[in-house]
Each structure stands twice: as structure tokens, then as C-alpha cells.
């Protein structure tokens, strides 16, 4: 439950009209897609701090900024859920990157610039994960569909395709909690298989990574399939809207 309530006007999903919502979301996400804000913050901080510290602090600051913008919309509980997933992804990416550089220095040479890049990737994942989910879920597919039923014209079909694409992206977020419940019933320890009678001595050191990699592949396929599963029904609904052209509808969206 949320410990405190933030003002409703800060919630991105309530912003109207839709183009203002997109503009605000793009503005919040700009530092994640361009180096300029980080370079600017780094340069400004570099004047008061030691040489490398300024640019290094720019990324955590940007990450905090993105989290702060997402917090009113998501609420504390949901933001923490998203951050838990983002941390798991960021740590896995960075640790596997570091291990590869140690194990295969000829292919992945290590230098200071790479360390800096790894740090940037880490904070980028932490910010991009909650940001992208906030972005996708800030738009209501049903509102878009309702609007499209009352209109016709050249944007109608494109709008219906956009509604379908948006809904599929949103659906991923609904599939994962469902799969997590199924996984927990199967593997109560989550990161260990329930049945592991053959794991003796040091064999888990070899067998666990194999099981882990297989589990990741299984999750990826299950998520893809369960996300694709309702698409035909969604397409059917979109077609119904496309057919329900109202003769009174205006010609433009």
C-alpha cells in the first residue's frame, strides 16, 4: 500500500490532450535517448567535483529524475515492483559483461571507457525499464478504440493498428505476473529447481547454470507465446470496430 498520496495532476495517465501527454513523456525520456543532457550535467558538475566524478554522477541523477517523474503515476508499490525487475536485469547484464571481459580479454578488451560504458548501461536499464512501462500504460487502448469508432478517414486504419500494437505491448506486463505465480508453484525457491535429487557435491556448480539458462529460454518462449495468444481475438475486435463505420462519423480523426 502507498504510504503517501501524490497530487493527481502529477499523474501522467491523466494528462490531456493525448499529444501533450506524448510531449511530456518524450521530454522525460529525452536524457535516455540522447547524450546531451548527461554531458551537460557532467560538465556542470565537473566544475565543482573531481574530473571523473562529475560525469559519473550524471547518470544516477538522470535515473533518479526519471524515477521521480514516474512515481506519481505508478505509486510506490508498483515502482518498487518495476525497480526489482530492472535491478535484476541490470545486474545480470553488467555482471555478465564484466565476466566476459575477464574471461575473454582478447574479444572484450577492458579499459576505463568500457567501465564507464558499463556503468552507463547499468543506470540506463534502471531508468528505461520503469519509464517504458509507464509510457506504454499511460495510454488507454479503449479510449483510442472508442474515438476511432466515431471517426473515419485515412488515419482510422493506422489508428486501429496502433491500438493493437499498444495493447500487445501492455499485455506483456499482464502475462509476467501470471507466469510468476505458475513458476512459484513449480519452483518455490524461484532460482532453484524443485526436483534436484541428482545434484550432489560440486555438480550444482555446472548444473545450476545449465538449468538457469534453460529456464531463461523457457520464460522467453512462454512470454512470447502467451503474449501472442490473445492477438487473434484482439484483431477480431479491431475488425468489428473497422466494420462499425458510423455514417454520422466525421471524416477526420
Amino acid at each position: 500500500m502507498n504510504a503517501f498520496e501524490l497530487p493527481a495532476f502529477l499523474k501522467l495517465q491523466h494528462l490531456r490532450p493525448w499529444w501533450l501527454k506524448i510531449a511530456v513523456l518524450m521530454l522525460i525520456g529525452y536524457p535516455l535517448f540522447s547524450n546531451r543532457p548527461a554531458a551537460f550535467i557532467g560538465a556542470a558538475m565537473g566544475q565543482h567535483l573531481p574530473e571523473t566524478l562529475g560525469p559519473m554522477l550524471a547518470w544516477p541523477l538522470i535515473t533518479f529524475f526519471v524515477w521521480a517523474c514516474c512515481l506519481p503515476s505508478l505509486g510506490t508499490a508498483k515502482l518498487l515492483d518495476y525497480l526489482a525487475a530492472a535491478y535484476a536485469m541490470a545486474i545480470t547484464t553488467v555482471v555478465s559483461g564484466a565476466v566476459l571481459r575477464l574471461a575473454l580479454p582478447a574479444i572484450f578488451p577492458a579499459d576505463t571507457a568500457d567501465n564507464f560504458r558499463l556503468l552507463r548501461v547499468y543506470f540506463n536499464i534502471l531508468a528505461v525499464f520503469p519509464y517504458s512501462l509507464t509510457f506504454l500504460n499511460s495510454f488507454s487502448v479503449s479510449n483510442l478504440m472508442n474515438r476511432l469508432t466515431r471517426t473515419r478517414g485515412r488515419f482510422r486504419e493506422a489508428g486501429l493498428h496502433l491500438a493493437l500494437a499498444l495493447r500487445i505491448c501492455q499485455h506483456v506486463g499482464e502475462v509476467i505476473p501470471k507466469m510468476l505465480l505458475v513458476w512459484r508453484e513449480e519452483n518455490p525457491d524461484l532460482l532453484l529447481p524443485r526436483c534436484r535429487d541428482d545434484w550432489h557435491g560440486i555438480s550444482p556448480l555446472v548444473k545450476w547454470p545449465m538449468w538457469f539458462v534453460r529456464s531463461i529460454s523457457q520464460w522467453i518462449f512462454a512470454c512470447i507465446i502467451l503474449t501472442f495468444e490473445p492477438i487473434p481475438v484482439m484483431v477480431n475486435e479491431i475488425e468489428q470496430i473497422d466494420e462499425s463505420r458510423d455514417s454520422d462519423a466525421p471524416d477526420k480523426v
Binding site: 500500500m1 469508432t149 535429487d197 468489428q240
Partner: protein, 420 residues
Amino acid sequence: MNSAEKKMTISAFDTYEGLVDHFVQSTGIFFPKMAAGRGEFFRGFSQWLGGLKQSRPQAVITPDPAQGLALPNAMQILTSALSQSGRSAGETDAATLIEKYGLTTKMLTQPVSTLSGGELLLLNFAKAEAQCRHVSVLTACNPIFWLNPARHKFWLNLCENYEASDKKVEALILRGDHLDAHSHSDKFEPVAPLPLNLQINRPLIDFPEIQFPVFHAASRLQYSWASEPGEIFSPFLLTGDNGVGKSIFARLLAGILPVSSGRAFIVNSDGNSMVRLLFQESITQLFALAPSEYLMRVFSASKELFEQVTRLFRELMQSVCSGKSSDDTRVWSSLLAGKACLIAARLVEKPALLLLDEPGWGLSRHDAGKLVFNTCRLAHQLGTGVGIISHQPEWHDFTRSNLKLKQIEPELVEISHERL
């Protein structure tokens, strides 16, 4: 049978796969048979994409009622469906419609993924009514299976509305369903009862508030005994109205739902308290794998258990398919095989209790009866109790205890025990 029932077309199928094939053929909507595995899914999906053509104006209740609800909550589903008929719909219209089908307005903002099977079906009914003006036909798969018998009337109401609008209704059911005029019940020898000790110390579950993308208030659910707890006998039936919290109670016993206070657990005569669960939507438990792939994956770290579970799986399948050709490869990648493999994978660990949430879903009454009877027989041999969560009255002839869940306050559910 009333006039609306008489005028609808009912097609009965022996297998879920036959029902799905007919659904796909008559609606043009691809619906996957998940137990057939990944390859089959992608093949079917790409075929559907390749042959995508404009379908007729139709309302559908898919073989899995959750799949027909493409938007995140009831409010969005109903306003979108109403707008298809050219109606300008708002919150009030959606609220009127949802209440007409026995659901509460609180459910308008509740995520669809958290609704029970019966609630999903009722929401499908409300959606189908919203679409009635625009569509020419309603194709409904297993339209009353998930419903408490007291709620079958909502299906009849929907049929009457379609009938009044001169629209067709096609019901696709599995052989033995209550809509099947030729249904008959198989009789099974009673299984010797197995005592279990169920302890319930007022477990409380908190469901947190949802702020995003749509606000939904926090809620809580607490369970208590109507009388002093004590010994129950396996196989037992867990029953109650739609949405009362049967599946939540099952998840609580299985330890996959955290409790805020109190506890509920079950112990068998060996002192074992492990509970395994077959979900209502058990097909998702295969994790998009075919049954044989699933067993190989789950038991990859235990050769001995893998051999045992394979034996158990074959035994279950042979006992259910006796009289049919179990050599047919399609049988081994059917929903029936999927359920049998999930049951075998749980039984092989000899838990204190195996909970089967609506085990008959997707099976003809004959197959469901045989599967559950043989599961109980095998489970009792292993010292495992079996609990069946269902609305289907035929289980009453078969079970030894009845646990009835009843909502006595908005957030309190009382469980009463009756020895059968």
C-alpha cells in the same frame, strides 16, 4: 429447456481439440491448443497470419474465457464493446451492464487477470450483450461450465436477448456438459477415504491498491471456520459461489500467496504438509511446452523421479483412454495429456494434498470423471489426499468431505465442513 435454449444451436464434442478446431473453423479466429507445444503454436499462428481475412460481425466466448477479454479491465471492455454498436458509452452504461450479469460495480476497475473463472464468463456475457446490436451471431464455448448452477440463468438471459434481436447463438460444448441433452453420468467405485488434518487460523490476505494504469482500491480476504476445525477426508470437494475465493484459498494452502496474518495448512498422517496445486487455467502450467517436453524439463535434475513420473503419466493416460486408441500421437499432445502430465508431476513428489481446481475444464464429462477417479486412486496409494475445487454437482457422488465457502461479511469467508 426454455425457448431461448431451444433455438440456439448446440454442438457437443468429445475432446477439447475437436471443440477448438470447430471454433476456429466457424469463427476464423485462431485459437491455440497449448498442450501441442511451441512448434504447433507458431505454425498455427503463422498460418492464421498468412490467411488473415475479414471475419463476419460476431461475438465470441472463446474456449478459455479469459482470452476473449482483450482489454485490461471490465470498464474498458464494456465501453469498447458498447461503442462498437454505435452507442456512446460511459461508466454508468458499463455499470448497468455488469450488474445485470450478477457482478458488482467494484469489478469494473479490477484487472481481468485477477477475476475468477465464473466472473470471467459473466463478464463475457455482459460484453456479448453489449455487442448484440452490431453482431449477427454469438459463438460461445462451454458457456456455463465455470458457473455456479444458481447463475446459469444469466446465460439464458443472454440467449433471450439474442433471440429477441433475431440473432443466432451457437454453443460449443464438451460431451456431458449440462447443456448436452444426451448427457449421462458415469458411476465410479468410491475410493477409500484418506484422513487429513486441516487447520485454519483466520488467514488474512491483503490485496494492495492498484494505482496504475487504472485505480483499483485495496481489498482483503479472511477465512474462518464455521465450526471447530478437525479431520477432513480425501477426496474432498471445495465449493462455493463464483468469486467467493475458492481459488485464492487453494493458492493460500499451496503457499504461493503470502498471508498478512494467521495461517492455513493441511497435514496428512505422515506429518507431511506439502500441497501441490493444479490451477484452474492449468494449461499455463505447462509453460508453453508439450507434456513430454514439460516432464523432461521439470525432472531434468532427477533421473529417478523422471522415470517414476513417466510411468505414472502413462498409467494415468492408459486408465483414462481405456477403450480408445492411446497410440494416437494426438492424444499425447492433447489437453487431457497436459492435465495428466501435470497431475503425475505433482503426485510423484508424494505431497500431503493435491488440489485440482476445476479439473473437468476442457474435458468431456467421461474423461474428467475417469481422470479424477484414477488420480484419487493413485494419490491414495501414495498417501496423498486430493481436493477438488468445482461447481460441478457430479463430484458430490464421489467425494468424502465437502468444504463449503460462504461469504458472510464483505471481507470474511466462512468455511463449513460436511462429511459425505
